[in-house]
Symmetry: C2
Subunit: 445 residues, 2 copies
């Protein structure tokens, strides 16, 4: 075995204290997803390569192939690691359609792999947390209203600071362009999508030259793509541009419904944002993008939208709406860039000191009593001097040290130094000390 160990670029791993943060994030996402009625599924890491190829907007993702080192594999198809959770979910729905109940609400929290060049907040292995609602035949619109509220509920419980879910609706630009008489909707959507990389003037030039738009139509498209509002007033701004089309009407009504529900259930968390263009050539209704305040230079921490066909088996088509949260990227921002830390590097709330090796059993008995009441407890590794045992707890952030004794037990809060007589059948730490807590550094000046 080689003794040298070099980290692999793009495959982030966490120290135990950081992993505690990751677990709390994953727990919160799961808890909220379940509160909102999503059922968990897990799919295998590999898919046949022919299923991974040519999948919508992610067709250009670099795929990792998987094959037995010895060259075997028998009749198995060529396989690769999944690069997102949508492709395996589509396959899972087709494979199990007869056993699932629709509308099917699932969440899925798993790693995905992409053979891309690693760079800031882009990884080769990273965790995605997806929620989707799929139905057979026709998917009611109200799910497009509901989905961002689920994500808003989850993010509201995470120490991410201010965030907003930006929402748009494919039908707004599509109806608007049609109202202008534009025929090739897709090319215009793709050029407008460059607004985050190119200056507006350059985009305008391309709309005129590449898409053949009249100058005033190009200006109208750019004006549309600049509208933002935190309420339904975006619709008035669109109307003021003077374009009319039934598809535009439908899009404005749908986005207004999303904003109205958000005003009640998630006030201030949604932004009607007609500048969002990413995925508009793939999604067919509402689109979502999750952004942290103050991270304008960073890629979004999640997104999704409504699609007409997640999958089809030739007879049935499965439309749906979904949002994917980039958990590893979110943690990259919060841990590596904002300095989020955990109050300790272990789940342990109480260290039971050991007087001497002969009485280790007494300490084990105390630990068993505390664990039986749900208190994570550790027995000290050595019957060292008490100062050393306290230091052992201190180095790990364990808040309490327990001492057994012939004339009764005592527990010490090593932060305050306070020490009190206790009974292992009754004492519990304060609720806030039971689990590690997350600590954000004071706001940077």
């Amino acid at each position: 075995m080689a003794n040298t160990v070099t980290p692999l670029s793009g495959f982030p791993e966490r120290l135990p204290s950081q992993r505690i943060i990751e677990q709390q994030f994953l727990d919160t996402l799961r808890e909220v997803f379940e509160l909102h009625g999503f059922a968990s599924i897990n799919t295998r890491a590999v898919e046949p390569l022919d299923r991974l190829g040519g999948q919508g907007e992610d067709a250009d993702k670099e795929i990792y192939g998987v094959s037995p080192v010895s060259g075997g594999g028998g009749n198995d198809p060529a396989m690769g690691l999944h690069f997102d959770l949508t492709v395996p979910f589509a396959r899972y729905v087709l494979e199990n359609a007869g056993k699932l109940t629709f509308p099917f609400r699932r969440y899925q929290i798993q790693p995905v792999w992409r053979g891309e060049r690693p760079q800031r907040l882009r990884y080769r292995e990273f965790i995605q947390a997806d929620i989707d609602i799929v139905d057979t035949g026709k998917l009611p619109f109200h799910y497009e209203v509901e989905l961002p509220l689920v994500v808003a509920d989850a993010f509201s419980r995470l120490p991410v600071g201010e965030f907003r879910i930006h929402v748009n609706n494919r039908k707004i630009p599509e109806g608007f362009y049609r109202g202008l008489g534009i025929e090739d909707i897709t090319i215009v959507l793709r050029i407008v999508d460059k607004l985050d990389k190119l200056p507006a003037a350059a985009v305008r030039d391309r709309l005129i030259e590449d898409a053949g738009l009249a100058a005033e139509h190009a200006d109208a498209c750019l004006a549309l793509a600049q509208i933002q509002a935190d309420d339904t007033s975006f619709a008035d701004q669109v109307r003021a541009l003077g374009v009319e089309h039934p598809v535009l009407d439908e899009g404005l009504a749908q986005l207004s419904a999303v904003m109205e529900a958000a005003a009640e259930h998630a006030p201030g968390l949604l932004l009607a944002d007609l500048t969002i263009a990413r995925g508009l050539d793939y999604y067919t209704g509402t689109v979502y993008e999750i952004r942290l305040a103050g991270e304008e230079g960073a890629p979004s921490v999640g997104g999704g939208g409504r699609y007409d066909a997640l999958a089809s088996d030739g007879k049935r088509t499965f439309p749906g709406v979904g949002i994917s949260v980039g958990v590893t990227r979110l943690l990259g921002l919060l841990l590596d860039e904002r300095g989020l830390t955990a109050s300790r590097e272990t789940p342990v709330a109480v260290l039971v000191a050991v007087n001497d090796e002969e009485s280790r059993r007494d300490s084990m008995r105390v630990a068993a009593a505390l664990r039986a009441r749900g208190i994570p407890t550790l027995v000290a590794p050595k019957a060292a001097k008490f100062g050393k045992q306290i230091q052992f707890a201190d180095r790990r952030g364990i808040p309490f040290v327990w001492f057994t004794g012939a004339d009764g037990d005592q527990v010490k809060d090593i932060r305050s130094g306070e020490q009190v007589p206790v009974d292992a059948a009754r004492w519990a730490p304060p609720a806030e000390d039971l689990r590690p807590s997350l600590v954000l550094p004071a706001a940077r000046e």
Copy 2:
């Protein structure tokens, strides 16, 4: 995209109701591991191939290689999917040794991959749940006593029926063989390990012919390998064979200490079992094997032992003790063979009915109030007839349906038919209905 979908043999996937069982098992393992002071780590799925090769007893596992489909990969070493969690853990310890605090207690619950031919209870992708305690330099013996108690605590909380953790100690056969004057300990251990495949007479022949033992020494080795006891009386049985050696004394004392602690903390759950030979050529002290009662024909659902060198960086050596639980195999036994099921296929405890689409918001408000108090709640997908909405809940196993009304809300337990007036700010389902429960079919006659 291909529309045909064929399951991949050896890559088990679960329906939502089965996944609920899997999640509850994983939750219980995690909870108990944390109660006992183990910290979570997750490692990347891939390791350099040269690190995966030649790793102790697993050297013959078929490895899945991983490489970018396009042929790129730059300066990255050739990589493969890990086939267990020990190899990545050893690498993680070396890579982060300066940042970890020792003794380091970690648990790790992740999938692993092996390119083997799938057969009953043997998979190509499966979840392992490992706990290990590693130290630098010297590892105190008491951890070998502690570790099986952690697993016994976890299994006692799972609906696995009767189980036992079989324990042996490498020092017992080693000391015994030395006491007989045998020099090549390893070859004898390996031949005795065949006892579960070959008749005793055949093993005896090989001990004489291949290992060169005198007939009475071969008989003594076989006698030793038949000793079992659920208390410390195994030591008397060994002594009665009349062999003496200091290493044998040490082994008997250690295994006795394990059995004594178990008598207090996990009565009836451990079996001193000198028939265990698997891994004795790799482990250096206590060895463990977890077995479900009535599954003598099945492979064990977990095991582990004490090892002198998890890893070494040339300067420091890291000894440890660990146990690995085969979660996917355990679930294969319980779900696929014993028929363990969940009471519902969704986390949802309450379905809020919808009177008409105009009042969907009222139903959403009720759902939000219930969720805010931790009750998984779903709003009905359509304002269908109430009978249909109740049927929707029934098909999924959702126990309660909530009706909103101008003259107050009511909730119906659709199992009993009982319907009572309720207030969304106060009502909660009985604790046993809040989460899906696990159901074992009545014992087979």
